[in-house]
Assembly symmetry: D2
Homo-oligomer: 455 residues x 4
């Protein structure tokens, strides 16, 4: 079964392993043999690492099917020995409650230790080895969707990456226009919220009235793990377009009282489940305060990526957001029912947002709807909106809604242009985190609270 997965990449691998013109099965046997040598560590750790490095190179040459087979061999053939686990578990179970429990636990743990992780760890020996493993997990996560037998391997790899990417090992660094070009081009590649269109756009985002911070791992020096873009200004920002406008006048950072986090991007798919994003804003706020003592307010300007798709599923909520006054005004514009095909057409047409009168007509009810969405909408007990989940879990509160805050095509498509400021009040963060964790309560400003109230 494994053999049948290998295909296009085979020739390269044949050449690499020195087996020209052999069938796929033989190639896999050769890989299997090498994996076994890695796992056993014969010839000493030093040469085991050397061998692992060669295997890692082989992996990079394989095509997708080949890689899947490679990982599958590791997953299925290098796991722990069920018989040994059984014995150790029996001893443990009988030792529980006696002084022998703790040694028996250590034994059971030893029996659980698999050779998979030993192999993977040795791949670390190649230059850029950590990045190699993070990227290998990107593959693994993809295969895992259709192949649950990779589960145990993935969990072990995730646990090891969690240990390696412990927050204590990460470095917060400021990124500026003086940073290496090889790093800056990664920002362009990874920016997930508001696309960076050119080097000029990027330079604008690193100007003296901006800040950009990222976490780095000491062994992935030019690879930001997560980064945030900050604008320094007076007062909250309500709209993202001026922030992205390269021709907008430069602000005086020294006089700013507000830091706006207007874009946060995770970069490494292979680190899914390894958390460090929570620490980013905390550390950035500390650094900003030290650097610019005039800053008083720390807030985001955030998208609401699931607002429109949620509304599509909740016609009743949409309807309820329109009170009598709103309906009267809508009727004046020829729309008598909410929702209705005509109403839907109004909402979704770009023309609406460009017509000040029409836009104004929708402002109040949609803002009300957005407030209710953020405060009350839930999925599996958590806020429906993924960005809300992140910031509320970090201790922020919903501060202000901004009608037409993002008028880009993407902004209209996600949330009819609605944006939201989450406020990070250093004195309230801990409290918010706790009440959110315990009771699921969404912290909000008085104004948003009023908007979110339903009849």
């Amino acid at each position: 079964m494994v053999a049948s997965l290998v295909s296009r990449g085979l020739d390269k691998v044949r050449a690499l392993v020195g087996l020209d013109e052999v069938p796929a099965g033989k190639v896999l046997d050769d890989i299997r043999r090498q994996l076994r040598e890695c796992a056993e560590g014969l010839g000493g750790e030093v040469s085991a690492r050397t061998r692992a490095a060669r295997l890692a190179e082989t992996y990079l040459q394989l095509d997708d099917a080949g890689r899947h087979a490679f990982l599958k061999i590791i997953a299925l053939e290098f796991g722990p020995d069920p018989a040994r686990i059984d014995t150790a578990h029996a001893r443990y179970q009988s030792a529980v409650g006696t002084p022998a429990q703790w040694d028996a636990e250590a034994e059971l743990r030893a029996a659980m230790r698999s050779r998979r992780i030993r192999i993977l760890t040795q791949f670390n020996a190649i230059p850029q080895g950590v990045k190699f493993l993070v990227d290998m997990r990107v593959d693994l996560l993809r295969y895992l969707r259709d192949d649950p037998e990779l589960q145990a391997l993935d969990r072990e790899l995730q646990a090891r990456l969690s240990a390696w990417f412990d927050i204590g090992f990460l470095e917060l660094e400021r990124i500026t226009w003086k940073s290496p070009a090889a790093l800056l081009e990664k920002l362009v590649e990874y920016e997930a919220v508001h696309e960076i269109r050119s080097w000029q756009d990027l330079k604008n985002r690193l100007d003296s009235d901006r800040r950009c911070y990222a976490f780095f791992h000491p062994r992935m020096p030019l690879e930001p793990l997560i980064f945030v873009e900050v604008a320094l200004q007076e007062g909250l920002a309500g709209s993202v377009q001026p922030l992205l406008d390269e021709s907008a006048p430069l602000q005086d950072a020294g006089r700013a009282n507000t830091a706006i986090f207007y874009s946060i991007s995770n970069t490494q798919v292979g680190l899914r489940g390894v958390s460090f994003g929570n620490f980013l804003l905390k550390r950035v706020i500390e650094d900003l305060k030290r650097d610019l003592p005039g800053l008083r307010t720390f807030a985001t300007l955030s998208p609401m990526p699931a607002f429109r798709s949620w509304a599509a599923l909740h016609a009743d909520e949409v309807s309820a957001a329109f009170d009598d006054k709103d309906r009267k005004r809508l009727a004046g514009a020829g729309i008598r029912e909410v929702p209705s095909p005509l109403f839907q057409q109004l909402l979704d047409s770009p023309a609406t947002w460009q017509d000040p009168a029409l836009a104004e007509l929708l402002r109040v009810p949609l803002t009300r709807l957005a407030a209710r969405y953020l405060v009350h909408a839930r999925k599996a007990g958590m806020p429906f909106d993924p960005v809300a989940r992140f910031h509320l879990g970090n201790g922020a509160r919903v501060e202000r809604l901004n009608w037409l805050g993002d008028t880009s095509e993407k902004g209209i498509l996600q949330s009819w242009g609605m944006m939201v400021n989450y406020l990070y009040d250093p004195d309230a963060i801990e409290n918010h985190v706790e009440t959110f964790a315990r009771a699921g309560r969404v912290a909000r400003s008085a104004h948003v609270g009023r908007l979110a109230k339903t009849a």
Copy 2:
């Protein structure tokens, strides 16, 4: 029981935890409560880390009994849940051989995950957190001697430290007289083979005809993990005293053909069981070859720390090392039996080594004895000599024995001054490692082989 361990350090802790004038039990209850909060992560990861940092500070203020109690609470009260393990194991056992095995394995692994490691990892958040954990394990290893209930905790901590100190994360750095004084004083403190007597002595060991390398962890910047001192010269070194002599003339490193590793010291007791020493010499040899292409020979000048104590236990071997000619000569010096009290007196008296005639009398038989000791003496299937175990396991061979190579008091006490060169031949290392690992064969030069032959 735990409570009774706390004593002297208590007042400090009381002050720290804000509980003046309370009994030890209460203090421990408070610590226990805080540990629980850390383990549960209530209030978000960020504040959990902050709380952990406070706990780490508390730990540092505790006296030995208090620390023991602290670790014991973690060991016994934050382990995995035996019932949950039992259930998960039952499911796993029945899934073995079916497609559900891999998910069940992941589940069992999850059930084994203890909150101990979660707590310890959070201590990482304090500045110098990694060093804190390494030092905490020094304590733990000490308590473990008499308290086997700490076993499970120690194994978990070791596993985590092994992940963190993976060779892929370590940096090989050259240490010179331009290195920070704060780092250099660590060399003085940690040097375990040939004591560094003064800054002048240290400067001599970092001169242009020397090299010094160490492994560092990115989060322990001024803490060498293991370091090696190298002398560059023409031909093998047979005696260590000239190398330590500050007034010896400077050699021209550019003309050297031989690198002598004359001192290797591990520095962190808390990293016991975490291996990286094997990689040090390999990397150092690579760096030296790049830097000084004239180097042809890489060898140690090593002590034989257990030679004399081994000989004390093997009178027959000592006796057999003296052939008829040797005995005749000894008889000429008034000694008729080997071993015998008179003979023993001769061996152990410093006067012997200072008298060229007497020393010469012992040279051949003791060299023979040393060769047999290195090649044949075993403990648990491994070479009896700990330094031999290290170098032979790394792929070196026993190259040459040096009579009176170390005439310091310590040298005489350990091995009657005998020293040995282990040779690292880059082309033979892998082969040596393998035959040593498989068959326990000690690689040796032809000359040492002849000496080691017994009748």
Copy 3:
């Protein structure tokens, strides 16, 4: 006269010096007063520097006329005292040949010391002060063209800059894609030979089969002073277009035997007359040899910027470059006379270079003409071609001519696409420099020598 120069920038300056609504003359008086305070150093060196920093800021606010006036005040009013020079010179003249000569010389030198340089030096105190002075000289050189009274000031400034930019203070640094973006954008700005069209183009020039080196001054950290772009390949490069082609396949630098310097750009107009370019190639060659021992040949691929304009002035030379065979072929293409309007049209038409048959027709005679131009054409005793002057003065020899080596519009315009390789043979450089300096002899390969021979 000075006053009349000030105009547009005045208002800003008025505001700066705190003199609103005052006539230009008053503003200048205020500047003059401040310059005097700088020159006298009253209030201590520290506050003099502070004052100078304010003056430097003032300068930056001035418009062109204002700056000219500013510099003129320094030039004319802060020179040495002619009377004091007269006295010191008289004493010196009478002391010549006596033991008092050396003290008298020092006195005369002291009398010559002007307060101009004292003022300028103090401008150094502002951040980026060195760059400020280099840029100020750009202004000065511009005004000097029409205002010879600035001569003494310019010479003093040049002498000071020469001291500061002594080669011993410059650092050779390799520039890569990991260099700061703020530095890389300077390359785009300063590249003077083959324009850099985009960040992608730039990245291509910094790829693994390229090298880029620049000299830097420790006080101008992101400002390259001069830089060279190098391609690593097998054999001489004859055409520049493949080197600039972003889609060309990457070469393996490790297998290269030839380094081609294909672009050298000076960047700081304000350092005219301060030489360090000579050292650049020498140091780059040293660094390349250390880094890539496989390199054997070091050569340029250079433009001939004045070839076509020289030919326009020397119809006889052009004519002589065509021998009977060449003329016969030309006649076949309908051109009976050289030079002639028809011939000229043939030469200058882009269509010619795109037609292989026509291009081939001109290849041999134009290559011959180019060889004669490089070897024999002179201006003020030196090679007519400025690039030839630079490389021949540095010890290179004319190695090979490359017909249609640069088919860009600029290349055709300057030299009908002809390019030349100058070869740097480390063993011959010193000898070439000397014979070039003494006898003006142009070193050339045997082949170029034959081509350059005239009947």
Copy 4:
């Protein structure tokens, strides 16, 4: 005459220049020939530098007489041409007042340009070239004492060093226990005020309640040019011994309100006449204020190195410092006249300072005498005390006198243990500098002012 200076170092030099067994004169001729080649720059700048490097090596091998001869050749044989100066001066003199003046001035300046500086500058090319020239000037200054013919050379070298060591090029760096040992040992070597006795003493001076700053030149990376040692504490320090006491308890730098500069040392004799010390304290105060906002007071604890030797010359002043009460008390101790041999014996005997009663007897009159010395004593119009000259010229004021502030042997010998605090009040510095420069007025606190008043 020059030849006769060369002696011991000759053999080395002979070997170096390739002239075995030749007389001194020949060696010098060879040096002279090489200097000429350097000066003429034949063979291009690059090889001129190479040649200069060889000459610099030669210089280092010469003994004192040889070096004197070497410098003398440069001084006397590579100066400007008197005839050319004469011509240029005549032209200049006649051009004064005409538009031709400025070009003529530039010409005269060109005629003055000597080849000496060209030679010296080229020495800069060797590694550590700047340090080489600074050290060469140490030699030069020594020879200059008895050989005024070196004057012109010294002035030129000083002018060039002044340009190179312009304050704008120097870097202020904090020195800590993490600084390179190779740098720290320079502090031990150069400390000129309170000798550093050991690495332990040094470590104490770099502890967390101390600061140490130095100026560095970018081309002399491990060579401090001037450094200052600072203690952070509450209130003024009156005695230096507690500051130097390694066993004194550590202060909390965060709570300090006062920074005491207790030692300032110039390190490079070869930079005599090149000033930068004035800037050191200003920059250090700026850095301290930024780093520790709690600091309010910046003051020195300074020796009075010439107090006792001045008193020895001014018996009348000493006498006048004792009023009737003081005399009565002295009489009680058996001393009836001031000054007198008995009195002198009392003053100079170490026993006096160790006897509290005797010491107290002298406290008031000697403090009075010290105040008068600092405020009124002059040498060539400047304060008699060299340390006072430095700090008063920098804008400090005499704040407080400290009886028995330095009870070391040196302290007693210089000033009977008296020390002084000079206060740097950032708001008053500029004003003090100016009144000191204009009117020679010594700024002082009200208390010191009263003490200094004479009848």
